[in-house]
Point group: C2
Chain length 389, copies 2
């Protein structure tokens, strides 16, 4: 337990541990915890991996364009959203990707599910620690091979190790998440190129770039490269969540870029009206130059704030921070305290909710994952952590 | 063609016919048509099968509760929705169904897809004419047997015919849609009881009740019966869209009641965060007594208006109206005009969009499907139809 908890607070920690057990590999949301523990101080959700400045930006447009006199949102609530290919068409020219290569999902998670259910039939290689759905979503009969990232290499993907394992195991699917969750480990463009070339005989490469907007390799994003990539490597499926970078997880919006034949297969027996009215509105916004210009400002602001936050976290002796090029950091607790005790203790004491990694396979030690929030909240998070240690 | 179209209007009809061809078994939305034909007069969407009074009711709550000073909708946009089982729990006591028997979908269509992909492995029997997804969503290798409803029986389901066909064909799945779309044909409670008893050896019975709130058999709905039914017939999966009765198709909300083992199977490898923030809000509203009371008023008002509308339509000589206990009617054009010509001609001439049934298999003749809208719009629709004939 962390220092300075009252008896009542210790009991609350125990209660949250139970909720965590029930929730399995997806921690209970702050709302769920709050419902069960009304006495809990609601503070900062540092489990939640999104850019809060981008949420503000979206809300500005939402208020201005949908909540005006004519309440334009009415149409979005009343009528069916457009079909997948219609929304894909509206995204296509902005992304400079043919509509036939774009699949729109009810969040990236729906696409992950669709791809794994449809294209993974024998064996999948997943680098761990990572986002558990990639191996939890497999169909019965599919085998999983874990490529355990090495603690001594700070859980960074080792390209040669992975290529060797693929050569040995001959999977039909390999998952690459860049940056990886929960550690933020980044695969450089040069490494991605080497991997794709080395993996070109694998049936499906899932390249999840849900956190790529937060990577600091360069300031520019280059959507053109995806078309080149899929033309050169038709086995690649690139998946992109909108929840994190645009701060709109509640809307459920994501897309994927993949070979047209795969999309034809997916749409041949499903995925009707799988978007919703607000997601369709968001995607229209997303393709507008003015919105993108304003988004680019808040993206960079958030990256700068995150780097500042990481710098201060790095100076705290009792935790080791692993290298991250995402909007969160994996922290190892060196003081002997268990991750659940720390995370839930911090929540009941300071109202700061961090993600325990006690359920993550592939981590040796006690870890939490800490999101970057707004600059003001980040300061409060740091104060709370220092206070708890 | 209908009478009195200008050359430009005839060209517009031809253009819409092309869009219809591209759209296959799901007609292009009025938005899509409008985007391509900006000169089109936007009038009434009588393709769209929902209660407009219920949309108004939802909007009242939406404005009052989500768009107030604190803009409570922000949380719904920013944060992930709850998981399936959490939303199911909040619905359970209202529906008097255990949470383990409730599956929440991104619209009923996601549930139809999930059920057919997971539980239909050999042969499916579908009564036609009907909603095409039921046979379009089958996996490769599954065979379809159509039970063609008889025109001379006004496309009403004949229980004995279906039972005989099932006996002969031994399918693993039978689809029952009540009331049926596109004709509104109703299966009485006594007939449902007879069918479920006769079909108890079939693997899966899909009972789609998406339009049941509009059936006039009685004024009360009785959710208790579903639990009894699934306890007695564990092969039944009841599917319920919220889009039609509550007028919120853009939100994407639906649920299903089925045996807990089926839900366990579905959730074991997918369906994370498959709802969205607004759908979760709607479901909370749905369980509130005051909302249900107000909903019941607008449901009955809409049924009364629909019955009045049907009565007037029935008096038009050039069309035959088939018996419907839903919020739409199947109309046969007796004057020799093609369904597409009539539907698209009516749209360009009067701005009234009706659903051509030219793509529907199982109909012999020229048919359109006409939705009931508000009382005022229904009058305009009737005027437009009389004018066109």
């Amino acid at each position: 337990m962390i220092k300075g908890l009252s008896k009542e607070q210790v009991a609350m920690v125990q209660h949250i541990k139970l909720l965590k057990q029930q929730a399995g590999s997806h921690s209970p949301s702050l709302f769920t915890i709050k419902e069960q523990l009304p006495a809990l101080k609601m503070g900062i959700d540092a489990c939640f991996l999104s850019n809060p400045y981008a949420t503000d930006l979206f809300l500005d447009y939402f208020k201005k364009e949908l909540l005006g006199e004519d309440l334009a949102i009415r149409d979005m609530l009343e009528f069916y959203p457009s079909q997948n290919n219609v929304i894909a068409s509206s995204l296509a020219s902005f992304l400079k990707v043919p509509a036939e290569m774009l699949f729109v999902g009810n969040g990236a998670i729906e696409i992950i599910q669709a791809v794994i259910h449809n294209f993974t039939n024998q064996k999948i290689i997943v680098n761990i620690p990572t986002f558990s759905s990639y191996y939890e979503f497999i169909k019965p009969g599919v085998s999983i091979v874990f490529n355990k990232l090495k603690k001594e290499e700070e859980y960074k993907l080792n390209v040669q190790d992975l290529l060797k394992l693929v050569h040995l195991e001959k999977p039909d699917t390999v998952v690459l998440i860049n940056p990886n969750n929960p550690n933020g480990g980044y695969i450089t463009k040069a490494e991605i190129a080497e991997l794709l070339e080395g993996l070109k005989n694998v049936g499906t490469i899932l390249l999840d770039e849900s956190f790529i907007h937060f990577a600091f390799e360069n300031d520019q994003m280059d959507p053109l490269s995806y078309v080149d990539m899929v033309l050169k490597y038709p086995n690649v499926v690139t998946i992109k969540s909108m929840s994190k970078d645009f701060g709109i997880a509640g809307i459920r919006a994501g897309y994927a870029i993949m070979h047209p034949n795969r999309i034809k297969q997916l749409l041949s027996n499903g995925f009707l009206w799988n978007s919703n009215g607000l997601a369709e509105y968001f995607f229209k916004l997303y393709t507008r130059e003015q919105f993108q210009k304003e988004y680019e400002v808040v993206r960079k602001q958030y990256i700068r704030d995150t780097q500042e936050y990481f710098k201060i976290l790095n100076e705290i002796d009792a935790i080791k921070q692993y290298p991250s090029q995402a909007n969160f950091a994996l922290l190892e607790l060196k003081s002997g305290i268990l991750a659940d005790d720390f995370a839930f203790g911090l929540l009941v004491k300071s109202g700061v909710y961090t993600r325990t990694c006690s359920d993550k396979i592939g981590l040796d030690g006690e870890f939490i994952r800490l999101a970057s929030r707004s600059a003001i909240e980040n300061k409060e998070i740091i104060t709370a952590i220092k206070d708890a240690l």
